[in-house]
């Protein structure tokens, strides 16, 4: 087991390295830097130039890269030019928000997908299944951003059921109960709209997985043992169909990252997606770099996690 994890980690290393080079070069190619935004007649351009020099913005790229990697390894992702604070701190706040959003979305996704997928797969080609399939079609055809926009408008503005921006109501003491409630309130609508759209893949996947499993020979074996339908479903079909979802988790996380860009932008939810969008327009490239790097690493870890989970639950690939 440990060997397997270590081995997987070894495969992960070059990926992370490659990722870091890629994002760094990308950032370098961007026109302008943070200081080119400081257009103020009262400020001496020479002072701006001096700042550039001081921040190392005029060094050759590889020097900057090595510097950056070196400090990144020490947990220092540099300084945000815009926010005048360590990127790590900046990301820290946002990451927590995005993390909770992702967790809520994942929970909702599975909360929706598993029952629907099961019903749809178990009673395939019945009215129930057709309704659920209809939903998956609609979910597929509705771009996330349209859905999020319309839900914001309906549930946020018109019905006022949910707050329309931010991650928490102002003035609450962190850690207190109202604070947590407010946090939940703020992430529910974004999470829900993301979940409702992204879940359709999972529903469909589960459905076809169940239909597949239903036709497997070992299901017949189970029936021949005299197992009642309910047991056949729970013990044999479900277990075997849910397992591949574990492998999905990793890609689900990659997908979530894309989704957060839309959802956080639309709901002004201060997470990584919004930070990314802000930073890219502000050319705060140490932040862009770090966000992409970090989320890339999260994706890599997501896939790693999937692999590990899968290798633990699936005896066929379990490591001796």
């Amino acid at each position: 087991m440990w060997k397997f994890i270590v081995r997987r980690l070894f495969i992960t290393m070059p990926q992370v390295l490659l990722l870091s080079v890629l994002v760094f070069l990308m950032a370098q190619m961007m026109p302008g830097d943070a200081l080119s935004g400081q257009i103020d007649p009262n400020i001496d351009p020479a002072a701006i130039e001096a700042q550039r020099e001081k921040l190392g913005l005029n060094d050759p790229w590889y020097v900057q890269y090595v510097d950056w990697v070196g400090s990144a390894l020490h947990g220092d992702l540099g300084q945000s030019f815009r926010h005048k604070m360590p990127v790590t701190d900046l990301i820290g706040q946002r990451l927590a928000n995005s993390f909770w959003l992702a967790v809520a979305t994942l929970i909702l996704t599975y909360l929706i997908a598993i029952p629907l997928g099961i019903i749809s797969g178990r009673y395939n080609d019945t009215l129930r299944d057709q309704l659920i399939t209809g939903y998956t079609y609609i979910g597929f055809a509705t771009p996330l951003f349209i859905f999020a926009l319309v839900s914001l408008w309906v549930f946020g503005f018109k019905l006022e059921w949910f707050p329309t921006g931010g991650s928490v109501a102002p003035g609450l003491e962190p850690g207190t109960f109202p604070y947590i409630v407010s946090k939940l309130q703020h992430l529910l609508l974004p999470a829900l709209s993301m979940a409702l759209i992204t879940t359709v893949n999972t529903v469909q996947y589960l459905r076809s997985e169940i239909i597949d499993t239903k036709q497997k020979d070992f299901i017949i074996t189970a029936r021949a043992k005299g197992a009642p339908e309910s047991r056949v479903y729970h013990r044999h079909i479900l277990r075997n169909s849910l397992l591949p979802l574990a492998a999905f988790l990793g890609f689900e996380i990659t997908g979530l990252i894309g989704g957060t860009i839309f959802v956080e932008t639309i709901y002004s939810y201060p997470g990584m997606g919004l930070l990314f969008m802000d930073s890219i327009t502000l050319r705060d490239y140490s932040v862009v770099t770090s966000v992409v790097l970090l989320l890339g690493v999260v994706s890599i870890l997501g896939v790693l996690l999937s692999d590990i989970i899968l290798s633990m639950v699936d005896p066929r690939i379990r490591i001796k």
Binding site: T221, A224, A227, R231, L243
Partner: protein, 335 residues
């Protein structure tokens, strides 16, 4: 008859294809007694498995008509819950493909234990495990404690087939249906498995339906033999009669097409087994594969005749059939 275990009466099993029902098992009647092996032979697609699945009630969307009486109780139309009480307990089945018939995510103990659990709910976990190990010993698996913890993919084909047998015999069934239990196995292992089934019959007086297309296996194992062709039983007799004095052209052709001592050319049956949709539904179904026999040789509605006591043959064409030496060989295009 007191020791009649299973009586199948005019069984029709039809599958729905493009809004039409096609019978894969067509008016099959047979009986199985205690302590008896009834072999069912026939080419691929002749409806052997369909018959077995009908008896076990394992078909999903087939139309089943007729009667299947297991110890006088009609299984056709029996509620699922009652059927489940029988299945795996008094009535059980060994499946053909050891590679796919086991749940890949369950360990061996659980898979065998499940059958026991389902029918002996009160048995303690420990007792159950004991029984599982007992069964594994019985089917000749070495180191049963260790095997218990393992998963199907860790076992060889022969071992898996034994596990499947262990599942089938876990509750000492009265009727055991073995659907080509050895087709996927090597001869040496096949021999062991067949011996195992034989022992079972002897020790527990189980009635066994053995489905196979290997005549050698039939000769080794069966008490009585039913030959199926295109969904129908074309000949039914005890094993010696069948091998010594086969009557139906199909049976005779089959026996001739197996390589045997001193045989130079093998006999070839013309044509192919028609698919379910294209089965001739009128007249003798074997007629088109012996085209040199005149139509008048066949019955219009061939029936299973009891030509001698306990020897049944379908259609009268057997009386006219002889091997046409000149037609042997394979030089026939598609008809």
């Amino acid at each position: 008859m007191a020791d009649t275990l299973l009586e199948v009466k005019h069984l029709n099993t039809s599958f729905r294809i493009n809004d039409n029902y096609y019978a894969a098992v067509d008016d099959v009647s047979l009986t199985v007694n205690k302590n008896e092996v009834l072999a069912i032979v026939g080419e691929s697609g002749s409806g052997k498995s369909a018959l077995a699945f009908s008896i076990m009630g394992l078909h999903n969307r087939a139309k089943i008509e007729g009667g299947i009486f297991f110890k006088q109780q009609d299984l056709v139309g029996l509620p699922k819950s009652k059927l489940n009480k029988l299945r795996g307990d008094e009535l059980s089945m060994i499946f053909q493909d050891p590679l796919t018939a086991l749940n890949p995510l369950m360990n061996i103990e659980d898979q065998i234990g499940e059958t026991i659990l389902l029918h002996h709910k009160k048995l303690s976990r420990k007792k159950r495990k004991e029984r599982v190990i007992d069964l594994l010993n019985q089917v000749g698996i070495p180191r049963p404690e260790q095997i218990c913890e393992q998963f199907p993919h860790q076992l060889s084909g022969g071992m898996r087939q034994r596990v499947i047998i262990a599942i089938a015999i876990a509750n000492n069934p009265e009727l055991l249906i073995a659907d080509e239990p050895t087709t996927a196995l090597d001869v040496t292992i096949q021999a062991q498995i067949l011996d195992l089934i034989q022992d079972l019959k002897e020790s527990m007086h189980t009635g066994i339906i053995l489905i196979t297309h290997d005549l050698g296996v039939v000769a080794e194992m069966a008490d009585r033999v039913a030959v199926m062709y295109a969904g129908q039983i074309v000949e039914l007799a005890d094993v010696h009669t069948l091998f010594e004095k086969p009557l139906h052209p199909y049976t005779r052709s089959l026996l001739h097409s197996v390589p045997n001592e001193g045989q130079d050319k093998l006999h070839v049956i013309q044509g192919i087994v028609p698919s379910l949709q294209h089965l001739p539904r009128q007249g003798c179904r074997f007629a088109e594969r012996i085209p040199w026999l005149d139509g008048s040789a066949h019955e219009e509605n061939p029936e299973l005749h009891e030509v001698k006591p306990d020897h049944f043959v379908r259609c009268t064409c057997y009386r006219h059939f002889h091997f046409p030496a000149e037609r042997e060989g394979w030089t026939h295009g598609i008809s």
